[in-house]
């Protein structure tokens, strides 16, 4: 099964995904197994999400609402707040398109555009395009244990494997020892500079799964800016109408 990153469609927040309730004997797990356990929790056939994206930049706060549908390979997001109503994104495997109703044109997002923030947020388009398994991309090792908000976490460090193409050279992840869900992650440039940090503020148990419903991403290169992501409704295995993931549906 293809991993679907993130509860914001196309995997905006791959870091706070799904966990099951199975309690694992922690002491026996290697770093790879912990990541794999977290990755396994992220698999699902399809999902429908209604969410809010809160973009805070220099004292300005913008709230965007959206509905996202995802299956194993594809995702479709439509913004529903008045200012962005009708703006749509479609991710099909490794391709991403967007439609702005004002321009009435479908634009393929590629090249340098992928580095830009999605809808002015701190999530770059590239962030939402990454869909390979992390264990294929990084060599992970456990570098310690820390408590976050009263939850004991593994602290894992992943360094990019030689020869693979990854956006972030190094990532440090805090994974809940009991629920196997990411509570915090730091993403670093090759120079060692911290670029982004994600944190989970709230987790809820929905249909037997622990879901991070409120999380925040900070671009650490910029002051006074962050993007929050709140799930207001989540539905697993919804009925997805035929043609949802088609370019025609973008218009």
């Amino acid at each position: 099964m293809q991993k679907i990153k993130g509860f914001l469609l196309i995997g905006i927040v791959i870091l706070f995904l799904f966990s099951n309730l199975t309690v694992i004997s922690a002491t026996e797990l290697t770093a790879e197994e912990i990541i794999k356990k977290r990755d396994d929790n992220e698999y699902f056939d399809s999902v429908k999400i209604e969410a809010e994206m809160i973009i805070v930049s220099g004292g300005r706060k913008i709230i965007k609402t959206m509905v996202a549908l995802s299956d194993k390979k594809n995702s479709f997001v439509e913004f529903t707040n008045p200012h962005d109503r009708g703006t749509k994104f479609l991710k099909r495997e490794d391709n991403l398109w967007m439609f702005f109703p004002d321009a009435e044109e479908i634009i393929k997002i590629s090249g340098h555009m992928l580095n830009q923030g999605m809808m002015g947020s701190d999530f770059s388009y590239q962030d939402i395009m990454e869909s390979d398994k992390l264990t294929d991309l990084y060599n992970f090792k456990i570098i310690g244990e820390e408590e976050i908000e009263g939850r004991l976490c593994y602290v894992l460090e992943g360094v990019a494997r030689e020869g693979v193409k990854v956006s972030y050279y190094r990532r440090v992840t805090w994974i809940d020892k009991e629920r196997f869900i990411g509570l915090k992650e730091e993403l670093y440039a090759q120079s060692g500079k911290l670029l982004k940090e994600t944190k989970t503020n709230e987790i809820q148990e929905i249909e037997g799964r622990w879901i991070p419903v409120d999380s925040v991403m900070e671009n650490k290169l910029r002051k006074n800016t962050y993007t929050g992501f709140k799930i207001t409704l989540i539905e697993f295995n919804p009925e997805i109408p035929e043609g949802t993931f088609s370019l025609q549906n973008l218009r």
């Binding site: 220099g58 020869g163 193409k165 972030y168 440039a189 120079s191 500079k193 910029r222 006074n224």
Partner: protein, 413 residues
Amino acid sequence: MFSLKLGLKNLTRQKRRNILIIFVIAFAFFGYLVMDSLMNGMEEMSFDNIKNYDTGNIQVVNPEYWEDREDLPLENLIYLNQDIVESIKKIEGVLGVSPELRFKANLNNGIDETAVIGLGISFDQYNEVFTTQNYIVEGSMFAPGELKAVIGVSLAELMDLKVDDYITLLVRTKDDTFNTIDVEIAGLVRAPNPMINNGIVFVPLDVAQQALNIGNGVSLLALKTVSGEEERISKSLTDNFKNKDLNLKPYSWKESASSVIALSAAKKGGIGTVLLVVLLIGMLGIINNVILSALERTEEIGMMKALGMREWEIVFVFMIEATGIGILGGLAGCLLGYIGVSWLVKYGFSIGYISGGDASGYGIPILDRIYGIWNYPAFTFLFILGIIIAVLSSILPSYWAAKKDPVKAIYHR
């Protein structure tokens, strides 16, 4: 002789009307000459700004890179060795070789971020080819290995930066991994080519190469050559690369200036239209003048015909008058044009009303002022063409006047 004298005398008979027409023609000529000077000046300045601040006279590039150059790829680079640079420098007419690494980056000032073009340069070699260093208005350039950058004043204003501030350039390495270049701003540049000022960040070549994981790779080699020798040098370069089995090709600056060259072609069309309007104004003025004169002198024409003057002589009288107006209008126009072009050549035409004096948004790499240039053939061409048009446009109405029946003409009331 009589017709000639009469024609010249007639020039002074309707002074006010003739002076008015002479002025109309003169102003039309003035408009054309000034426009021509300005357009040619704009073209020359654009080409100079491209050569002196962006491309050099010739760029040596891998042909596959050239295809994708707009995307600033980190593929198909030139991996430098002393032999390449030295063998290029040995070619007669090559005055300097500057290796450049061009890359995409996001400039971050800690609060905002904007997309820029990073330009890794080796300062000494860069100075052999480009004159950008002469336009550093604050601070200085950097030395190799220094974690310093030079940016344009427009970019500095946009990002609220000044000399000694620190910036972070967020880049992607050859393997597509994020990397950062943290540099201190060493200097601010305000070059005549606004594209340099708006979105380019100069950093030391070795610093850029290291951050992008590309070893000693560069995007291109920019060459300064003796002006006008580009074709010969390109041929020598091609032979040189072929002998050394190098997959490199020389590209003239003209191939990087296609948008300006397209504008230049459009300019020629624009100038042609202005010329047409100018000639039309002259023609209508002359035709109008001849018709009015003929109407006023109907009795006189009738009398001259009755006294035995032939039709062609009457036509000649009117043509002399029209030619005189053409010559005087042309001379006055050329004089006004001389004054206007002199002013444009010396003081230029301010484009401050266009995006704060930056015409780059219109594809024209010019800042602040466009200076005119002298185009003497245009003066001669316009003067002669003006006389020819005056003569030609007077023939028909003169013939119409000369054909009048002498009896009816004398008694036309």
